[in-house]
């Protein structure tokens, strides 16, 4: 893996993040070396295998999605 580093300005607009969890990292900038370990032991009941339920993103998004679904069903 080859890395090209250019010394320039770094401009970032807006960022929205819900969660940064369990030895994960969010960085704006440079870094030399990153090692992230996460070890978890849990009961088998808590294991979830996908597909995961989608989080609702608000009323407008759902309306758009429902409209898309209804238009798709009408086409059939």
């Amino acid at each position: 893996m080859n890395i090209y580093i250019q010394q320039q300005n770094l401009k970032v607009g807006n960022i929205d993040i819900i969660a940064v969890s369990s030895s994960s990292t969010f960085q704006i900038g440079d870094n030399d070396q990153v090692i992230l370990y996460a070890i978890s032991e849990d009961v088998p009941d808590s294991i979830q295998i996908g597909p995961f339920p989608q989080l609702s993103r608000g009323v407008n998004h759902n309306e758009q999605r429902n409209a898309r679904i209804t238009s798709a069903t009408k086409r059939r």
């Binding site: 580093i5 010394q7 320039q8 970032v12 960022i15 969010f26 090692i35």
Partner: protein, 145 residues
């Protein structure tokens, strides 16, 4: 980008930052974040006996595998903007508009700036105990000491 960087941050909104996690604006050298935890969910709340020890479980004790041995060799090329174009080299800056983060937890890291070396380690064990049908006597569990 060099280690002397100006950071201009308009707005940083973090609701929750917990359990050995860091928020930093600026440069940093070495970081080692460590978090270990045992959570026990019981069907019945009982008190009056010893808490569990981390040493009882081998997952808190064994050494971590060195991850860098799996990475192939590479090269890092530093290029100055001033060398590419006949312009005065600009002052290296990071300009960030707004950052909204709801939660960061369990040795996680929010960093706006440059870092050198970072290791984050998180060991978590979850236990569920079902105590239905077991008669509990507090004197039975109380430690002799």
């Amino acid at each position: 980008m060099s280690k002397e960087t100006l950071v201009s941050l308009q707005r940083l909104n973090v609701v929750n930052n917990s359990t050995s996690s860091i928020i930093q604006v600026g440069d940093r050298d070495n970081t080692y974040q460590y978090k270990q935890g045992i959570s026990i969910q019981r069907s019945k709340a009982i008190y009056g006996f010893d808490e569990p020890y981390f040493a009882s479980y081998p997952m808190f004790c064994y050494e971590l595998p060195p991850l860098y041995q799996w990475l192939p060799d590479g090269k890092v090329v530093h290029e100055m903007y001033g060398k590419l174009a006949p312009l005065p080299p600009p002052l290296p800056t990071i300009e960030v508009g707004s950052v909204n983060i709801i939660t960061s937890s369990s040795s996680s890291n929010i960093h706006i700036g440059n870092g050198s070396k970072r290791v984050a380690e998180n060991r978590q064990k979850n236990i569920r105990q079902f105590l239905d049908g077991i008669k509990l006597d507090p004197s039975q569990f109380s430690s002799s000491s």
